[in-house]
């Protein structure tokens, strides 16, 4: 008999065996792992770099590199955010170009207040920082109104430009003698005379036109006519029929009597295709009463409304229902401007 308590046997199997513990040991031994344990399956060698990647030295080196990068990059990043981007440059592509009243045959810098004028046979290209490019066609007068990071505003007094941009919405703006064009990330042309007659054509993406309190969204493939007088046109797709275009122009810009206007509307609705429902939707902005009912009914014939959208809702201009109906056209999301990144490159 030893002086050890039975509990010692439970701890290290020494001393007098505790009968219950010994009985359980004998009973449960059958479940014990065999000696030697079964061999491990063949282990595939780890890639040689794996221990290196997870080593403390590697982690420390990675942290140090990241810190160093931060120290080097931060001042530059702060400068880029805080200071105006001075990379507005103009290059002469052909002919006689005048910049700020002086002839320019190669390239030069532009700043806010700068003026670019092309002659009958000249063409220029303006680089808008990292946002994109503007091609200035012959007989054009383009001013740089504002040029700082996040705010690039040009004014086309007359002539034609092609803008190719990749920037968040409302970063790039073009004033015309009439409405103002807000780029929503796309490529588009603007053409106007000094009085404000012209047109805006969106090649890809979306543009928002604004004048006073009127706004219109123009999708890729559509055109919006510009006219003096403070009235916005209704956008239409470039492949719309001549009858549709003519009727739309009369309805938008001519003061017709009621009978003539009803005739123009009938011609417009008769010539409309499913794709033209976008124009009909935009027409609803300026329509009321019977005219509004006729537009909605014809639109629903051409483009059935999705579930949950009602004629009554469309007639009262319910924004959510209008949106759902518009989505049926599959024109894409205005906010997804970055999907047009390829458009920044010359075609």
């Amino acid at each position: 008999m030893t002086s050890r308590e039975p509990e010692d046997y439970l701890w290290d199997a020494s001393g007098a065996p505790d009968p219950e513990v010994a009985r359980l040991e004998a009973l449960l031994r059958r479940y014990r792992l065999a000696e030697p344990p079964p061999p491990l399956p063949l282990l595939e060698p780890r890639p040689w770099w794996q221990p290196l990647v997870w080593s403390r030295g590697f982690r420390l080196a990675a942290y140090a590199a990241a810190a160093l990068l931060l120290v080097i990059a931060a001042p530059s990043a702060i400068r880029r955010v805080a200071q105006p981007d001075a990379s507005c440059k103009v290059a002469c592509l052909a002919g006689d170009l005048r910049v700020n009243g002086r002839s320019l045959s190669s390239s030069g810098a532009l700043a806010a207040g700068g003026l670019v004028e092309t002659g009958a046979a000249s063409q220029a290209e303006v680089r808008i920082g990292l946002v994109g490019h503007v091609t200035v066609f012959p007989d054009s007068r383009l001013r740089v109104v504002e040029f700082r990071r996040g705010h690039y505003r040009l004014a086309l007094d007359h002539g034609k430009i092609l803008a190719r941009t990749l920037a968040p919405p409302f970063t790039f703006v073009v004033d015309t003698p009439g409405p103002t064009a807000y780029d929503l990330g796309c490529s588009f042309t603007v053409e106007t005379d000094a009085q404000g007659k012209g047109r805006l054509q969106v090649l890809t993406g979306w543009v928002q036109l604004e004048i006073d309190d009127q706004q219109v969204l123009i999708p890729g493939g559509a055109i919006c006519l510009l006219r003096p007088g403070g009235t916005l046109g209704t956008p239409y797709f470039e492949d719309a029929s001549p009858e549709f275009r003519a009727a739309l122009e009369r309805l938008n810009f001519q003061s017709e009597d009621a009978a003539a206007r009803a005739g123009s509307l009938a011609a417009l609705l008769a010539a409309a295709r499913p794709r033209d429902v976008y124009s009909l939707m935009e027409m609803l902005r300026m329509s009321s009463g019977e005219e509004r009912r006729r537009i909605v009914d014809r639109g629903l014939e051409l483009l059935p409304a999705p579930p949950g959208v009602t004629r009554a809702g469309l007639l009262r201009g319910d924004p959510a229902m209008m949106d759902q109906w518009r989505h049926q056209l599959g024109l894409g999301e205005v906010k997804r401007w970055w999907v047009h990144w390829r458009d920044i490159f010359p075609q």
């Binding site: 509990e7 439970l10 701890w11 290290d12 199997a13 219950e20 513990v21 359980l24 040991e25 009973l27 449960l28 031994r29 059958r30 479940y31 014990r32 792992l33 000696e35 030697p36 344990p37 079964p38 491990l40 399956p41 282990l43 060698p45 780890r46 040689w48 794996q50 221990p51 990647v53 997870w54 080593s55 403390r56």
Partner: protein, 184 residues
């Protein structure tokens, strides 16, 4: 049979295994196989334990470069084993059927049935108790070995052994008491 104690060299073995030394990892496997086997047996079905054990060591081999402290290898292995057992039940819930503790009592004619009942009773105890008791009563490890292998403090192992054994005696004699808090 006492476990082979070479814990003082385990850190060196872990370092060598991390560098891809297969022999070093084999040695770690031999040293820790019983501990992993016991932890798995404390909760997973018996017929799945050997496969799970191999999984645990394969996982450990792959993850070894991420182990920051070589001296913590035992606790790290125990964690992988517990996670693997938990994973097993998550993926195969139907396999989680346990033998009832009262399948057979002491004095049953069949030793096999009695052993199964004893194991089931242990597995019905709180985790800290059942793991410690399986390592002690099934795998034959001493309290000191259990502490060294699992990374637990010896005092915790001692408390878990004694409280777990007390609870086990009560349950086996049909005098089960309310569960006590386990030392982990």
């Amino acid at each position: 049979m006492p476990a082979e104690i070479i814990h003082s060299g385990d850190a060196a073995l872990v370092g060598a295994a991390r560098r891809g030394d297969r022999a070093a990892f084999d040695a770690l496997y031999r040293n820790y196989a019983r501990m992993v086997h016991g932890l798995l047996l404390a909760c997973a079905p018996r017929d799945a334990v050997e496969d799970l054990m191999q999984d645990v060591f394969l996982q450990a081999y792959r993850k070894l470069p991420r182990l920051r402290d070589d001296a913590a290898f035992g606790g790290w292995m125990a964690m992988i084993a517990r996670n693997r057992a938990r994973d097993y039940f998550r993926r195969t819930p139907a396999a989680s059927v346990e033998l009832p503790a009262d399948l057979a009592g002491p004095g049953s004619a069949s030793a096999e049935a009695e052993a199964a009942a004893a194991l089931a009773t242990i597995r019905a105890l709180p985790q800290a108790y059942r793991e410690t008791l399986v390592l002690r009563l099934v795998e034959g490890m001493t309290g000191e070995e259990i502490a060294e292998r699992t990374g637990l403090a010896p005092a915790s192992v001692r408390v878990n052994l004694h409280r777990g054994m007390k609870l086990l005696r009560e349950r086996l004699s049909g005098l089960a008491q309310p569960t006590e808090a386990a030392e982990t």
